[in-house]
């Protein structure tokens, strides 16, 4: 795989997909042999009375228009596509995307969950950073908890 990290610093404004999800995407890099752009996809997904905030890595083929992967939330994908020294910058870019999405959609309630169960405090830091981005848009944390069944962490944000 001839992957080249080449992060996009000035992404386009949010767009809405065919299911009503608000999305901000920015390129992380390119696979030059497969003609693929690797994107960070930051999404606000409308589900009934709330919007769910999520972010994951997608591979988008630049030769087959229809071919885009589902978001990948795994550590393996992060390790594959984001060099360690760029991780903080990527989080900052995700924060910017979160603010743009919330400004655009102005949802009443926002949910967020961790992908992995039983995350240690250190691994929850990025979620705390994203919570701060949500707070800066005029929201407060209404609830946050670790679910007993899944051991994943959850947040609910509401307007101040």
């Amino acid at each position: 795989m001839a992957y080249e990290f080449d992060i996009e610093t000035d992404p386009d404004p949010p767009f809405t997909d065919n299911l009503g999800t608000e999305i901000v995407e920015f390129a992380l890099g390119y696979d030059l042999d497969r003609d693929v752009v690797v994107l960070m996809s930051v999404m606000l997904v409308p589900v009934d009375e709330a919007h769910d905030l999520r972010f994951g890595i997608r591979e988008k083929s630049l030769v087959s228009d229809w071919k885009i992967s589902a978001p990948d939330y795994t550590k393996e994908s992060t390790d594959r596509y984001i060099p360690k020294e760029w991780r903080t910058f990527v989080i900052i870019q995700i924060m910017r995307a979160v603010r743009k999405l919330i400004d655009e959609a102005q949802p009443d309630a926002i949910t967020m969950e961790t992908y992995y169960s039983k995350l240690p405090e250190k691994a929850l830091k990025k979620y705390a950073t994203l919570s701060a981005a949500v707070h800066s848009c005029g929201y407060k944390t209404v609830d946050s908890f670790r679910d007993e069944a899944s051991q994943k962490d959850y947040w609910l944000f509401g307007k101040v």
């Binding site: 997909d17 390119y30 999404m43 769910d52 209404v142 959850y154």
Partner: protein
Amino acid sequence: MTRDRIVEVTKKAAERVAKASTGTPAKQKYLKRLAELKAKRATAASSTAEGPKRRLRA
């Protein structure tokens, strides 16, 4: 919202985005950048290939 409901909402959202197939509308921008990176790689490869020849000529 109850905690059970929060868990349910996030689960539904995960399922929804896993099915959605709409990609970025900014394809042209990415195509252009891909071409630039490929050209850069080709130039780098050709200069690497040229390197030993130059040394031989010298």
